[in-house]
Subunit: 259 residues, 2 copies
């Protein structure tokens, strides 16, 4: 049983304003909730179907808080998803700010106004897969704690550090890797370019690409070659989705450093 | 000015049932509408802001039908998008069915229950970028003419043939390429596998992967290596999004055949 006040409180966390004022966010889905209660985030409350609580008794009993059973009709009132999942957690945000020093060796992604929550979540999942520890987001990038972002990360938000701040401030830090890659439609073919896994990759906005302010810092403009057929006759895709381009670049960087 | 009957009719096309009974779908967005009226699909009606009609007078005057001006308040009542775009077209579906013969040389994608409309649209856009002419979808795959799919293709639905049918029927055709690739979590590292650009690639469902019925046809199980750090300590992403995996495989196939 969940009170009207609790419902109102959780629904407030569907909106950015509510999340920011309480510094809390929602994590939903069976797997996501199990991961978050076992992870390093502070979980304040868990609401779940009785069946789910019984099935996962071993996993949930080792962690606080004790899940509160709710009915489907109640879950439908608190979920931020279009289809309710069997479990929902209320979680405290972590405070991340721009690093004062350059990262240790490795790859860093810089997101220049990635606005689609699905794209941001997918990019975080890609980073986790390819062993990228840190993502620096411009203030215009989608909010990490948006339920659509959290959902699309499939749990990877717990393993990748995502910080927000002016990207020109980050790109001005001393000690950054020498290579700052940016994807452009008219850069050097990535399969012919020299690539390094100790680098920064800038990912541009879905429609505008990389901003002029960020482009100044790019040392290597790269492009993913298209193999569209009969370009003149048929027309062809003008670009790839931002998350898709990020994945292809990350995969190629990792391939090179492991050949 | 748009009548109540027209509003009701267009809103019926937001749902699959309405689209199937009328054999019509919606295409929205400035660029998408300009492309669809210039393309090979039959466009029955266009509704647009007067400003958009004036700006695109040259492009729209060469094609029928003449756009009907609508106000923002009217567009808000007919759009299937969360934020209305300046133009909306009512378009006749094309009838695609499973081919009776194998495709000519080249790559074919087979989608085994890709359920997320955004993933399907993104995969169509990837196919267009990489010069893949045909996608064969299982009956459980998202519907091509869902507004979210059309939106995510960014116009690529006009250039890639997307057909629906039992994929085991397609995979049983004689004359198919010898290599049927499928991505698995425990396949051969794609960077060490022999790849061919004259092939079929099977893409599995977002959570269940490739079905047993389709797996029987796979000649080469491949996997995209992860470079997650400290796997045991930190945990790591268990998989990549289906569209992301498709993009990385297509990019690698094209890279190999152009080296």
């Amino acid at each position: 049983m969940i009170s009207k006040n609790q419902i109102r409180f959780i629904r407030a966390l569907h909106a950015k304003k509510g999340r920011e004022s309480h510094r809390l966010f929602l994590c939903e889905g069976s797997k996501g909730v199990l991961e978050v209660i076992a992870g390093s985030y502070e979980v304040l409350q868990v609401f779940a179907f009785q069946e789910w609580i019984d099935e996962n008794a071993a996993a949930v009993s080792a962690h606080k808080p004790v899940p509160e059973p709710v009915l489907l009709s109640e879950m439908e009132r608190i979920t931020a998803l279009s289809t309710p999942s069997p479990a929902l957690a209320v979680v405290r945000m972590k405070e991340h700010s721009l690093p004062a020093e350059a990262a240790p060796d490795g790859l860093t992604l810089v997101l220049d106004d990635i606005q689609d929550p699905g794209n941001l979540g997918t990019i975080i999942r890609i980073a986790d897969w390819f062993g990228i520890r840190r993502i620096v987001c411009s203030p215009g990038t989608a909010e990490l704690y948006n339920p659509k972002v959290i959902q699309a990360t499939m749990g990877s938000f717990m393993r990748v550090e995502v910080v927000y701040g002016e990207i020109s401030a980050f790109l001005s830090l001393t000690g950054l890797p020498a290579n700052i890659f940016g994807t452009f439609l008219s850069g050097k073919n990535i399969y012919e370019a020299e690539l390094s896994s100790n680098a920064v990759i800038i990912v541009g906005n879905e429609s505008r690409g990389i901003s002029e302010a960020a482009e100044k810092f790019v040392t290597d403009k790269i492009t993913i070659p298209s193999y569209a057929l009969d370009k003149k006759e048929r027309g062809h895709a003008e670009s790839l989705n931002a998350a898709i381009a990020t994945a292809i670049v990350c995969a190629e960087l990792r391939r090179r450093s492991h050949v």
